[in-house]
């Protein structure tokens, strides 16, 4: 599936509606993600940003609309197969505290993809090198700083060779001095051609790395466009108001 400019569309979201009880969190969201694109999603908290990400890998059920991966409704995929193609990084890292770094990385590839342990370990070492944590391979999560934990969590998601990475406020739980190391890893990843959806408040990152910024407020996409357009010259009053407060 391609868009009108001939770019490959990897994810297409149509009229997505998500309710928690009576509360409507997403009120008909439409969105397309091109392969290798990095989209930064911004907006006030409670606006539905995280919920949107969580619908894409089916951590949340949604009540209306459709999400397509490679042109096929995600409901038609086996849910576990779908999730191996979509990596996710959480605000709270969610490393498994009873396993060391290596075990955190190799569990899913061995159990889900059934690859050999030796191969999984090689791959883990390669990815830990990339995120600069090869010396922590035997450490347990509690022995790591927040930034190190999040870098391990990114490496863990990459172990499954995902085609898309979802980042749900990956630096919000970090001390300010640790934010940079995580953003650097994410930048490298974006530059290597990974398709990424990032919910974040880091405007510097958005400006530098994003191909597109999407502003979500009150369950709808208020505005979207290239970083320079959105950040310098927002069209909608809500976007202006949000950016004024955050910058």
């Amino acid at each position: 599936m391609n868009d009108k400019d001939g770019n490959e569309i990897i994810i297409k979201i149509e009229d997505l509606v998500k309710k928690f009880g009576k509360l409507e969190v997403l009120k008909g969201v439409n969105m397309q993600v091109r392969r290798q694109e990095t989209i930064v999603i911004i907006g006030p908290s409670g606006g539905g940003k995280s919920t949107l990400l969580r619908c894409i890998n089916k951590l949340e059920h949604y009540q209306g609309g459709k999400i397509y991966l490679d042109g096929k409704d995600i409901d038609e995929y086996d849910v576990n197969q779908l999730r191996t193609r979509i990596g996710m990084v959480f605000q709270q890292f969610n490393l498994f505290p009873h396993m060391n770094v290596l075990q955190n990385l190799t569990l899913a590839p061995i159990k889900v993809k059934k690859i050999q342990e030796k191969e999984a370990v090689e791959k883990a070492k390669y990815l830990l090198n990339k995120v600069g944590l090869i010396d922590k391979i035997d450490a347990y999560p509690e022995q790591l700083s927040g930034g190190q934990k999040q870098r391990v969590a990114i490496a863990r998601a990459l172990m499954m060779d995902p085609e898309i990475m979802l980042f749900d406020e990956p630096t919000s739980a970090l001390d300010p001095e640790l934010v940079g190391e995580v953003l650097d890893v994410m930048k490298d990843l974006a530059n290597s051609g990974m398709t990424m959806l990032v919910v974040t408040h880091e405007m510097g990152f958005a400006k530098e790395v994003a191909d597109r910024i999407v502003f979500i407020s009150n369950g709808v996409i208020e505005e979207e466009g290239k970083p320079e357009e959105i950040l310098k010259n927002p069209q909608k009053p809500r976007t202006r108001e949000f950016l004024r407060r955050i910058l």
Binding site: N57, L59, N80, Q81, R83, T84, I86, G87, M88, F90, Q92, N94, L95, F96, P97, H98, L107, A108, K111, V112, K113, A153, R156, A157, M160
Partner: protein, 216 residues
Amino acid sequence: MEAVLELFKNFQFLLIGAWETLKLTAFSVGIGLILGTFIGMGRLSKIKLINYPCTAYVEFLRGTPLLVQISIIYFGLPQLGIQLAPYPAAITALGLNSGAYIAEIVRAGIQSIPKGQYEAARSLGLTHWQSMRYVILPQAFRNILPALGNEFITLTKDSSLASVIGVSELMRAGQFVISRTFQTFSIYFGIAFIYFVMTFVISRLVRYVERRMATA
């Protein structure tokens, strides 16, 4: 004086009974642990067909006396054509009973693990069972170890109820010695002492394992 002498003379019989008590308890806890893990998970299931029977099981077995359960298994099941000898009947009853209590412990243990752990496991493509087995249960068991230790101790003491269907555990062994020596007080004291040593050792063992897991 004679009372003390008789206690020493017959202590070996009490020890044989104590060994039976330990075996009985260990088997029952083993059954209870397996049963309790599955029923505890079943209690958290959103599927009513799984949730309701598991809840009913827990409520029924916690809501009826163990003595009655033992009697039903031994004296009642033959009505359905199931003849169990005293020892298997006792293990069955104690195992089913501790299964209900352990199910509640396991349920609380699973609930004590942050939701993000399960979500992280599922987002990596692990199935529900894989997430439980590799991520949630290992952490839950570490948290519930003290409670499981308590259950082990409770069951050690409760296993004395198996004497009513003739299992020669510590309590019953003691009664045999009393009926021969007529030394009621000293033998009961000896029985109490052995129960205490057993439960004390178990509680120390649990604490040791707990500490080892904490540093791991």
